[in-house]
Subunit: 425 residues, 2 copies
Amino acid sequence: MGRQELLSRLAQRNGRRIVLLVLDGVGDLRTDAQPRTALDEARTPHLDRLAARSSLGRLVPVGTGITPGSGPGHLALFGYEPASPETDIGRGVLEALGLGLDILPDTVVARGNFATVDREGLLADRRAGRLPGAEGRRICARLASRIEAAGDAPGDALGNAVGDGIEIEVHPGEAYRFVLLFRPRPGTPPLGAELADTDPQRLGVAVPPVEAAAGAGEEARGTAARIGPAVAALQAELRDEERANGFLLRGFSKLPALPGVGELHGLRAAALAGYPLYRGVAKVCGMEIVDCGGSFGQVLDRLEERWDDFDYFFLHVKGTDMAGEDGDLPAKVGAIESVDALLPRLLDLGPDVLAITGDHSTPAPMTAHSWHPVPLLLRSENCFVDECPRFTEVEAIRGAIGTIPASDLMGLLLANAGKLAKFGA
Amino acid sequence: MGRQELLSRLAQRNGRRIVLLVLDGVGDLRTDAQPRTALDEARTPHLDRLAARSSLGRLVPVGTGITPGSGPGHLALFGYEPASPETDIGRGVLEALGLGLDILPDTVVARGNFATVDREGLLADRRAGRLPGAEGRRICARLASRIEAAGDAPGDALGNAVGDGIEIEVHPGEAYRFVLLFRPRPGTPPLGAELADTDPQRLGVAVPPVEAAAGAGEEARGTAARIGPAVAALQAELRDEERANGFLLRGFSKLPALPGVGELHGLRAAALAGYPLYRGVAKVCGMEIVDCGGSFGQVLDRLEERWDDFDYFFLHVKGTDMAGEDGDLPAKVGAIESVDALLPRLLDLGPDVLAITGDHSTPAPMTAHSWHPVPLLLRSENCFVDECPRFTEVEAIRGAIGTIPASDLMGLLLANAGKLAKFGA
């Protein structure tokens, strides 16, 4: 029996509240060049007092040595096995979630790059000279008009696709990026996402048409036949553009169909995150999205308002990760101290279980996500109060929780909240 | 998805070099009788300085409480799951690798014991009175002559097997041991290794003929029929010997067909080991064997010569294990100090990632391999510099790497070398 199934069998509801505070990328490194981490350096009186009454430990997001993206990092924190086909969030879907788009389970999503092709139709620049955002938005609007104008006009490749029951949407992303959505209208056959990228990954060759991925089945082949001509018509529409006179599509995917944390664990779960990507991943896991700004203060505003409505709250703080990505240790220290300053507001609500951790480490010296274990602080009435006086990476090594897979955290939170029955008699 | 498959999917090549220095059996015990381990006792100024800039941790070779042989111990260090049917290196193959024989994938290998049978043909001594090596070599030469003389003579059981396309080789091992190889000539049917031992494991019974193992398929049954009479003819050849007038065969096996570390991880991997067994296991894992002597100095000589040719180097030091097997703590301390003295030569090469560990513990008080976790030292630009001032068993308990399966080490080395892409976006 898998762990999630076991937890699900043992689920019991009660009124106790769990708060999972994710300081994105909080874990850092001690290296020759940076002898102390952001958590070492930060002045955190409230966190220190809390650590002295808590269990510490470390979470391994995906596996030893594996550097997780934000998707797998959060899926693991929410109790899902992050490296399995069932939880694989495709690139297209992830980009759409990051843009805050509402994806339905039947929709095929691709991530697009505007690109430049030469007179012979051969790929000359895979990012159209890193097209600025305003240009990207203009071209997306042009494509949207073209889709609308096509209607279901017979004889027009785009119109044929629409007439065949497919809604097509285009949404601009950052710079040269965009997202293309294909959704079957009710009563028309479902669409398959097992489609090959149309990005040849090298210059001087033609952009390939939409085709089923190698080894894909009937559904994907049918989908390629239905949407391929429409994609070609959209490409043709851009022929007179100066730079973005073509595009490449990658990461065709659909939302993974995951059982939600409500169904699995009997939780009424809410996500309070300022950035769309994290809201999107939480939604995939069945959480209700509580609209809020990106600062911890804004998150707390909404938390206080909605405290009575849920029993599991995922709070997301982005600043730690951004500072780590920038290699800016003082900014990371500042982000941690800002959280510390507002921590009393969170504690005043009296969460029955509070976990503070990250979805991965983003060490400032690496200016990137990394594979290093992430420190975890867990406070509840029944947590083992260990001998760690501060919430830091080094203290966490000797914490009572030990070093565990991040996907084990959900069970630990549920246990501390009394939401898991005894296993066996 | 299995861990090895995940690592393989994330593989990215670069020029950075990984060195894995295996101090065979280095882990030791603190007991009532031996209050300090060899690593505790050794004077190791260079290792100490390195430890102060490294991450420490511990490796569990196969599983908690499982004492590994050298084969599984090394397979785990190379990233393979050591307790799976795919990585099972049979006794026959292991013995042949230990003799430095070049085994081909189609060859069936058995490990033999010369034995004594009485006048009724019943087993009287399973090791022929622990026959000395010179006698074993003489008898092997006699068997080899018999094989050569048989040619493919019809009417001779051995000749029939040869005529049926089977090459037979005999190689002496230590004392009463030898190895028997059966290889099908091109164009003849393959041989199966699912054959039962011909060792009844007790005295006073007849030595059974070669038979397919219980539940084995057609290939093994055919193989038994083809090689059985030849084995009987070789037994008959020894009838007039005084002590070694028979033999027992065990561990029929073929090389496991493992994907190599090059194929899996994009590594150009070299093994520098003085002892054939370790070279053999490295070869099974797709490494190139760099011929060298058994001392650490000799290993370093070749390492310096071949530094530009590879990006993964497995260095093997045997002295620590031998001293442990002898229960000789001072010798083990000496073996460690010898490595320490030459460590600057290794560090001067500037490996991007350096791991120092063992394939298992060989505690001197036990004079044998054991199940205890093995200390690990890992140094790279992005290792977490923890608070462990020396490379010892006790310091390793509180190291930043924690206690992890030995088969996780490969992923950690690859991550530290920047040879793994991020998982998910």
